[in-house]
């Protein structure tokens, strides 16, 4: 299966190209960008990132564990302190809050690693250090019959280089 590797200078051109490719049904594509550009993210996948689910689950786990543990520990060895209830809720908010943030933060990190497929691995064949300079890449895998159409589309949207390679 052929692969077209194209190089762009501007994120708006990348976003327009991706939208057009997707509209034509060429979904098997990857973009490479040296910085974060919302327009490219939205063109490639308009759905919100699932990282938010990780944050929510982490935060809820933290607050639940924080309160549960403090209440359980206070009742397991009950000592009257400052005339407060053994399981006094207001002072427990502090540790509950801190664990919400701690668990939420780490869950977000793990979410990013999982969703972004981030782990030490061999880089993509078509990745180039140009994409960590100031250039953008759009890599499209397609059928042989579509190569000409995709190449024309890429050039039409200001691709400064288009290279045809095998997958």
């Amino acid at each position: 299966m052929p692969t077209l590797v194209s190089i762009f200078d501007l994120p708006s051109d990348v976003a327009k190209t991706v939208r057009k490719l997707k509209a034509r049904g060429f979904d098997d594509l990857t973009t490479y960008s040296p910085a974060q550009f919302t327009e490219i993210e939205e063109a490639e996948d308009p759905k919100p990132s699932p990282v938010r689910i990780f944050t929510l689950i982490g935060g809820l786990s933290g607050v639940t564990l924080g309160f549960w543990f403090q209440i359980w520990a206070s009742l397991e060895w009950p000592i009257k302190i400052a005339g407060k209830n053994f399981a006094a809720i207001p002072p427990f908010w502090i540790v509950g809050f801190e664990l919400t943030i701690l668990f939420g933060g780490f869950a977000t990190l793990f979410g990013m690693l999982i969703v972004g497929g981030l782990y030490p691995k061999r880089l993509d064949k078509h990745y180039s250090q140009r994409f960590s300079a100031e250039e953008f890449g759009v890599v499209v895998n397609c059928e042989e019959r579509d190569v000409a159409e995709i190449e024309a589309l890429l050039r039409e949207h200001s691709a400064k280089e288009v290279n045809l390679v095998a997958k």
Binding site: P34, I40, V51, F69, R130, N163
Partner: protein, 455 residues
């Protein structure tokens, strides 16, 4: 274009002409390359300071806590003063990274990395002090709730335990935030490194390639971490302030403490960021990226938070008088005119009076002036904690139990050592990672290109 035959299919990227690298990559990564003599000198001094720090810790651990000079009525001395100082320093980084990110203040991009690094190293430095303050270091595990034969748990109603959770959460979350922000830049460094550095960067970059999926996950992560870190940064110094405010000691038992401490932390933190970034910018030639505009914006924060601190100082005195409580009135009178008057007037002069000069734009953009001012602010902020802790403890309710606190050489050695410890980590960081968030700078550069240099 006709699909090529199999034999003609070449490696995709080898056929591309080698492009010129991004100027931002070249300029900012240049900081990590080579060793300049001012750098080497500073690192040498820092390492010597760290050696004397650990030698002093060993001496204190062997002979006991008495060598630190702690005696009734002041058992919270320089270690706790310096602990609060360093925690405060650690606040600017998160404020710049998280809160200014949420406000979409793009000027933060040039200074956030350096400030985040300062946060991490300041909190790591601060975390040493509660341990040193224990005296018996090997009892450290008593601080955390752990299953034991007596089934006796820590006191969750104590602000000291809240502090354990707050500081550790802040330290770990700051490290996570710092690392997440670094990943794209580490990947950029990986693409240009060789040998052992390449291996290290490859592991730390966790396969980052800047794909759309990765950037989306990354930007959402930064947003969520900012959302989590914003209340966290406000809570941490509030919890630290409650170490004092939850007690009944005159001068400590005040409801204003939480906002007062948070404003003071941001104030001192920004001063430290300026104190560190001015020489870094000058030595490594980063004037193109860290400009007077950035320093002016940070100066505005300093002016704002200095005014809040001034209000808090004044309100403390007013409430002490207005409360009619004799012990409070005496405590505050003695702060200004008692044996520790010097520290109080240093605090007021350096933290409230001097920063008012920042109303003048000419001074806000005068870097030598800013450097000197921020140096005095750091001294003033250290004295603020000294005033709060030492004057209050040494002049408690019972006049017969009053005492005079004198700083011991061991404490001074630890204080100096802590600055060296902090400095050592920051200097090592400069040679390992980019001190400016390159991918965020490139975002601005590329936007500028797209809009004809409008950014």
């Amino acid at each position: 274009m006709t699909p090529p035959p199999a034999s003609a299919v070449a490696d995709s990227m080898t056929s591309f002409r080698r492009p010129r690298d991004s100027q931002a990559n070249i300029d900012i990564m240049a900081v990590t390359k080579g060793v300049q003599w001012p750098y080497l000198l500073a690192l040498g001094i820092a390492i010597l300071g760290v050696i004397q720090f650990f030698a002093t810790v060993a001496y204190q651990t062997y002979w006991g806590f008495g060598v630190a000079g702690y005696q009734a009525p002041v058992f919270w001395g320089l270690y706790i003063v310096t602990f609060v100082f360093w925690i405060g320093i650690g606040h600017a980084g998160t404020l710049i990274s998280a809160i200014l990110f949420l406000f979409r203040a793009k000027w933060r991009n040039a200074v956030n990395r350096g400030a985040e690094a300062l946060t991490v190293f300041a909190v790591i430095t601060a975390a040493l002090f509660p341990v040193l303050h224990l005296g018996r270091l090997w009892k450290l595990y008593f601080l955390v709730p752990y299953p034991n034969q007596r089934a006796l748990w820590v006191n969750f109603k104590s602000p000291l335990l809240w502090d354990v959770f707050a500081i550790n959460t802040y330290m770990l979350t700051s490290i996570v935030f710092f690392y997440v922000g670094l990943i794209p830049d580490i990947a950029m460094a990986r693409d240009r490194a060789t040998g052992i550095k390449k291996l290290a960067y490859t592991v730390l970059a966790v396969g980052w390639q800047g794909t759309g999926t990765q950037w989306k996950a990354h930007s959402r992560t930064v947003l969520h971490l900012s959302g989590l870190a914003t209340p966290l940064v406000l809570s941490v110094h509030s919890v630290v302030s409650w170490d004092f405010a939850m007690s009944l000691v005159p001068g400590w038992h005040a409801t204003i403490f939480a906002p007062y401490f948070v404003a003071g932390a941001v104030f001192g933190g920004f001063a430290m960021v300026i104190n560190v970034l001015i020489p870094v910018r000058r030595i490594f030639g980063l004037e193109r990226y860290i400009t007077n505009y950035h320093f002016e914006n940070m100066s505005r924060f300093i002016l704002l938070t200095s005014t809040i601190c001034g209000y808090a100082y004044g309100m403390e005195y007013f409430i002490a008088w207005y409360s009619g409580v004799e012990a409070e009135r005496t405590s505050f009178w003695l702060r200004a005119f008692g044996p520790y008057w010097f520290s109080t007037w240093c605090m007021i002069t350096f933290n409230v009076i001097f920063p008012q000069l920042l109303w003048f734009k000419k001074l806000r953009t005068n870097l030598p002036f800013l450097f000197v001012l921020c140096f005095f602010i750091n001294i003033g902020m250290w004295f603020e904690r000294y005033v709060i802790i030492i004057t209050s403890l040494s002049r408690d309710y019972i006049t017969g139990a009053w005492g005079l606190y004198i700083v011991s050489p061991v404490e001074l050695s630890i204080l100096v050592g802590s600055f060296c410890w902090f400095g050592m980590w920051f200097l090592l960081f400069l040679k390992a990672f980019p001190v400016i968030a390159i991918s965020e700078i490139k975002e601005l550069i590329i936007h500028g290109k797209e809009h004809g240099g409008a950014h």
